[in-house]
């Protein structure tokens, strides 16, 4: 079973205690933006085979939203981090580079 550590309350939670909330770091577009941006924000999801950045919610625990970096092929977790950030922390990026040298995801590398 997938387990993630909640970066807020510190609990190691099993996936049944959590709720997956989709892709992290989405850039939001609203009324007035052009069609392509709006479509991309609403529907065009990253769907990588490899490292992925996601939002999770510790729904049956402290209730907080947080972010996780995870490999979609092996379920290996590279780390979790608070949601109040626009970019994953450097130590998580470094850990990903150990497994996937030269990885990219949207604008991150």
């Amino acid at each position: 079973m997938l387990t993630l550590q909640c970066p807020y309350c510190g609990v190691w939670a099993e996936e049944t205690e959590l709720h997956a909330e989709g892709e992290a770091h989405l850039k939001r577009f609203g009324p007035g933006s052009d069609d392509a941006d709006f479509e991309s924000y609403l529907f065009m999801r990253e769907n990588p085979k490899g490292v992925h950045f996601e939002r999770w919610r510790h729904s049956h625990g402290c209730g907080k939203f947080f972010h996780a970096a995870r490999c979609t092929m092996t379920l290996k977790v590279f780390g979790t981090y608070p949601a109040q950030t626009l970019e994953p922390p450097q130590d998580i990026k470094d850990r990903i580079s150990e497994t996937y040298p030269g990885w990219t995801w949207r604008n991150f590398k």
Binding site: M1, L2, E15, A20, N47, P48, T72
Partner: protein, 415 residues
């Protein structure tokens, strides 16, 4: 191709079965084809088949990274139905269902289509209203379904507990000509027919790159070297994101694991397919006697082809409540497949940003039933370069235009 028949069985019996041919050839790839289809699942093979049959295009290669039918086509629970809500879905799924009716004869291959009837239980007031609405929509679309009451449910499937404590059965949407088929045989039957038309099915050959120039595809790079083509069809279900990435465009899809399990075989006890969407589970009995059970999808993207453990418990719990007699059954096998889910839970059949590259994907949790229809529509799209009436609504543009084909009945657990 030597045809299969009762006479052929007798002939081979008389000569110790020495005369059976291989069902399909396993050639080395040529340098170039008119059309390359990536993915030898049901949709890829059906696309190739109808390219040959309906449009006479036979210089075709179907490239498969594993073995043919080893993706979702060989992993699904084989439910075939066409009781969808929206007109464009009903049209393509009903086309597919009707092609299933004669597929064994058309392909000279027994696909064991069994129109045993599919029942979708209504266990809340909302479901009752929803399914009554679908039944009315189906009547207008010319798809024969009806909304039946709990007594009829019990009559058709006596092992259902209709007055369960949590969610009593209030009725069901019943499609008499829905049912099941033999999933492997569908892939094998199309493969044999494609091979017979002179197409090359190239297994154990992974596409690792898509070469393009000036907005057009010129060929693919594979583990068996580069192969050129005039047109390319991407039909790789859960791997669509990976292929789109190679081709340099994005898709409105995410890949998740969906799982299924089968029990030990028991005596015949149900001769219909039952889907219980509120409690999240569905079940039918295979010809071998196993109960075939489908579960839920993972909530997060992954390519693991196994799925999360807790879904097994949730699914079995729901089904034990619906069918108390299965409470002591042992489960024999469990497996997962990677399904490609779109925002509106409907597939994508259409053009891509690369002019001569087409895609059939996004069937998510329910594309086995659609194989002949999806193949038919995709062949037309590839042959003519424009979608025909069946595929017209399913292009990716619908996401930018806000023209969704909302199929709640195709989501989550319902197949």
């Amino acid at each position: 191709m030597r045809r299969y028949s009762a006479f052929a069985i007798a002939r081979e019996a008389a000569r110790y079965h020495t005369g059976w041919e291989r069902a399909w050839a396993s050639p080395e790839p040529k340098k170039k084809y008119d059309v390359i289809i990536v993915g030898a699942g049901g949709h890829g093979l059906a696309t190739a088949f109808y390219l040959g049959k309906n449009f006479g295009i036979t210089n075709v290669a179907i490239i498969e990274k594993g073995w043919l039918g080893g993706g979702n086509t060989g992993r699904n629970t084989t439910i075939i139905r066409s009781n969808y809500l929206q007109d464009s879905s009903a049209a393509i799924y009903e086309k597919a269902r009707s092609l299933y009716e004669t597929m064994s004869q058309d392909l000279n291959y027994n696909v064991m289509f069994s129109p045993r009837g599919v029942m979708m239980l209504a266990q809340t007031e909302h479901e009752v209203r929803g399914y009554q609405r679908t039944a009315h929509a189906n009547a207008l679309q010319g798809v024969k379904t009806e909304f039946i009451g709990p007594e009829r449910v019990k009559e058709l499937c006596p092992i259902i507990c209709i007055d369960g404590p949590r969610y009593p059965v209030l009725g069901a949407l019943w499609q008499e000509r829905g049912g099941t088929g033999r999933h492997d045989a569908v892939a094998w039957g199309y493969a044999r027919a494609c091979s017979d038309m002179g197409m090359d099915i190239i297994q154990k050959c992974e596409v690792v790159g898509v070469r393009s120039s000036g907005g057009k595809v010129v060929g693919v790079d594979t583990t068996k070297g580069p192969i050129d083509c005039d047109k390319l069809g991407l039909v790789v279900a859960g791997n669509s994101g990976a292929l789109a990435n190679m081709a340099g465009f994005r898709l409105p899809m995410e890949s998740v694991a969906l799982q299924a399990l089968v029990s030990e075989p028991i005596k015949p006890c149900m001769d219909v397919v039952v889907m219980a969407n509120t409690v999240h589970g569905y079940m039918s009995q295979s010809d071998k006697g196993e109960m075939v059970i489908g579960g839920g999808t993972d909530g997060f993207n992954n390519y693991t082809q196994r799925g999360s453990f807790h879904h097994i418990e949730e699914t079995v719990r729901a089904l034990v409540e619906t069918f108390p007699i299965i409470s002591r059954l042992k489960m024999l096998r469990q497996w997962g497949g990677i399904v490609d889910v779109t925002g509106d839970r409907s597939p994508v059949i259409g053009k891509t940003p690369l002019g001569n590259c087409f895609i059939n994907a996004g069937w998510g949790t329910g594309g086995f039933k659609a194989i002949p229809g999806g193949g038919w529509a995709t062949a037309e799209l590839i042959a003519k370069g424009e979608p025909g009436p069946l595929a017209a609504e399913f292009g990716m543009e619908r996401f930018i235009e806000g023209r969704f084909i909302d199929e709640s009945v195709a989501a989550g657990v319902a197949h």
